[in-house]
């Protein structure tokens, strides 16, 4: 039975219950409420899952597509100066609304050959070290930094572990906490786990409407917790990984609208919305002095987390 079938069945049951109550004058409101909540919970699964599928749509605009659409010029820089150049992360200098910015983003590729070369945006240590280098360059020259997140996660491979992918992600996070220029992050597609977060430490974090951002892929979560990768839709719903969810949870700052049907149906419209949002946030951040930017960014992330207190419930935000 598919989830759609299950929902249909539950809704039939609801209708019957209501009819029964009407015809027999019995109070079944408790039963009805319970069923309605169940329907809501289950039907959120497909909706979240739809978002995940949209976020992964093969025609969805990539970082390079947005750079084409948003930037007047993009000068790509390559290499980590240590061992290699990882095509799963692109970066360089770009001209955005008349100003130079440093940009870094995951790149999935725009056709099968590119997908393969880019490993579908799954970056390794060389990618994150290139990213840190480019952000460092931006920082030295006082350039605002824009990052684009679009990865299923860091590449899981032997070589990645040999080259200390864990340390590379940690260093990239640590590096971003040190940057003295404004950093705006845009989650444009998949925001997969530590591999996404490694370039996600921003003063502002924006998300496209159909992007997702999660600690683990729905499939991975379903495999571990449900013992069945097929339960990914339910995991997707449970993880609250959609843009509206994350706005609600206070982890992102803004949801950038996409054209109906998703960004791939009208990339220019999506880019237009993104441009407006980036510009607005960069303008706001320009007013903040560098030292204060670093403090605010540190406090922002110091404040993230929700615990239950023995004495009180704490909702930790904005550095307490």
């Amino acid at each position: 039975m598919t989830i759609e079938d299950l929902i249909a069945e539950l809704q039939n049951k609801l209708a019957e219950l209501r009819k029964f109550a009407r015809e027999n004058g019995r109070d079944v409101s408790a039963e009805i409420a319970e069923l309605e909540e169940k329907v809501a919970r289950i039907s959120w699964g497909p909706r979240a899952w739809e978002q995940v599928k949209l976020a992964r749509h093969p025609s969805r605009p990539t970082t390079l597509d947005y750079l084409d659409l948003l930037m007047d010029d993009f000068y790509e820089l390559h290499g980590d100066r240590l061992y290699g150049d990882d095509k799963a992360i692109v970066g360089g200098l770009a001209k955005f609304e008349g100003r130079t910015v440093a940009v870094v983003g995951h790149q999935k590729g725009r056709n099968p050959a590119e997908n393969h070369a880019c490993r579908y945006g799954m970056a390794g240590p060389a990618g994150y070290r290139k990213a840190a280098r480019i952000m460092g360059l931006g920082d030295r020259f006082g350039l605002p930094i824009i990052t684009f997140i679009d990865t299923p996660g860091a590449y899981p491979g032997i070589e990645a572990e040999e080259r200390n992918i864990g340390g590379a992600i940690a260093d990239s996070i640590y590096n971003m906490l040190r940057l003295r220029t404004p950093v705006v992050v845009a989650v444009i597609g998949e925001g997969g786990s530590g591999g996404a977060l490694a370039i996600g430490v921003g003063d502002r974090v924006l998300m496209l409407e159909n992007a997702y951002y999660s600690v683990i892929s729905p499939e991975g979560c379903a495999a571990i917790l449900w013992g069945d990768r097929g339960r990914a839709p339910e995991a997707a719903a449970a993880l609250r990984l959609t843009a509206p969810d994350l706005l609600d949870l206070g982890v992102i700052d803004e949801v950038v609208q996409e054209p109906a049907g998703g960004a791939h149906t009208a990339p220019k419209a999506a880019a237009r919305n993104l441009r407006e949002a980036l510009l607005r946030h960069l303008d706001e951040l320009r007013a903040v002095v560098p030292g204060e930017l670093v403090n605010q960014r540190r406090r922002r992330f110091r404040g993230m987390g929700i615990c239950e207190g023995a004495v009180e419930t704490m909702r930790l935000r904005n550095g307490e």
Partner: protein, 285 residues
């Protein structure tokens, strides 16, 4: 700043639950396959008296392995995990939490405290793998961050002993964000010029490895540790690569420049006392 929390002190709240899995007199060693007397294993800090294999240590056992006797003062914040997503898979997250609390006798997976090591005051943080895989959610992030704040404020070295599978996925995005939160606290530690020694044990993986555990001034791997970012199965499935036999072992981490040193469990205390003796704590250069 909730300074008040920093002042709160109480003696070890870590209680070792004697029932359940901890109850049996004998325990089977995964190393030699023999049944060994549990009390003997405990006396030897979780080292098999027959073959030398390591058992998991509870947070309490780990602490008593490392600190000067009776010197540990628990300064963990009085917080427990919330369920910010209302997460339910086969079981509700809150139920899993309750079960972990009952089984371990711990309110959560992280224990932090002031202690002394060879008479040097330190702030020590330990994670307990029995508690939902020692995974990092908002509580661990907050406990570690507060521990680093105390260390920074009191100019005491910070020692973190990790035993964790990574992220607490039931807390979703909040779990992920703890990677940045702990890194941000570590930044304050650096600014205060306070040393941070990261000890990686079996296992130190996923999001904890890819954040705070990798940010030590000195990184020490316990012998037998498992150290890495991605899980073996994920790597095999994604790449079809056959993993080398030493993959993600402590020797692999050492050979690839990921940790400074590999230390046997029974020598870990002396090692920490020794490394801490080199740092002129609180001297601001």
């Amino acid at each position: 700043m909730k300074i008040s929390w920093f002042r709160r002190q109480q003696y070890v709240q870590v209680k070792l639950d004697q029932r359940g899995e901890q109850g049996a007199l004998w325990v089977k060693c995964a190393g030699c396959g023999d049944l060994v007397f549990r009390e003997r294993v405990r006396e030897k800090h979780g080292v098999c008296p027959r073959c030398g294999a390591y058992f998991f240590l509870t947070a309490q056992e780990r602490i008593s392995l490392l600190v000067d006797e009776d010197s540990f003062v628990d300064v963990s914040r009085p917080i427990v995990a919330a369920d910010p997503l209302g997460f339910t898979d086969c079981r509700p997250y809150l139920e899993r939490l309750k079960e972990a609390q009952d089984r371990t006798g711990l309110p959560n997976e992280t224990v932090v405290g002031r202690a002394r090591m060879g008479n040097t005051p330190v702030v020590l943080a330990v994670t307990d793998f029995r508690f939902i895989g020692g995974s990092m959610g908002s509580v661990m992030g907050e406990q570690l961050s507060c521990a680093m704040d105390i260390a920074a404020q009191e100019l005491s070295p910070f020692v973190l002993v990790s035993s964790t599978g990574g992220a607490r996925m039931q807390e979703g995005i909040f779990s992920l964000m703890q990677m940045v939160k702990t890194a941000a606290a570590r930044r304050d530690l650096e600014r205060a010029c306070v040393p941070f020694v990261s000890v990686m044990t079996y296992p130190t993986t996923g999001g904890v490895f890819a954040s705070i555990a990798s940010l030590g001034d000195v990184a020490i791997a316990e012998k037998g540790a498992l150290i890495g970012f991605a899980g073996r199965r994920v790597i095999e499935q994604t790449t079809g690569e056959r993993l080398p036999s030493d993959f993600q072992t402590e020797a692999f981490a050492f050979d690839h420049g990921i940790v400074d040193r590999v230390v046997e469990r029974t020598k870990l205390r002396e090692e920490l006392i020794r490394v801490l003796s080199f740092f002129p704590v609180g001297r601001s250069p």
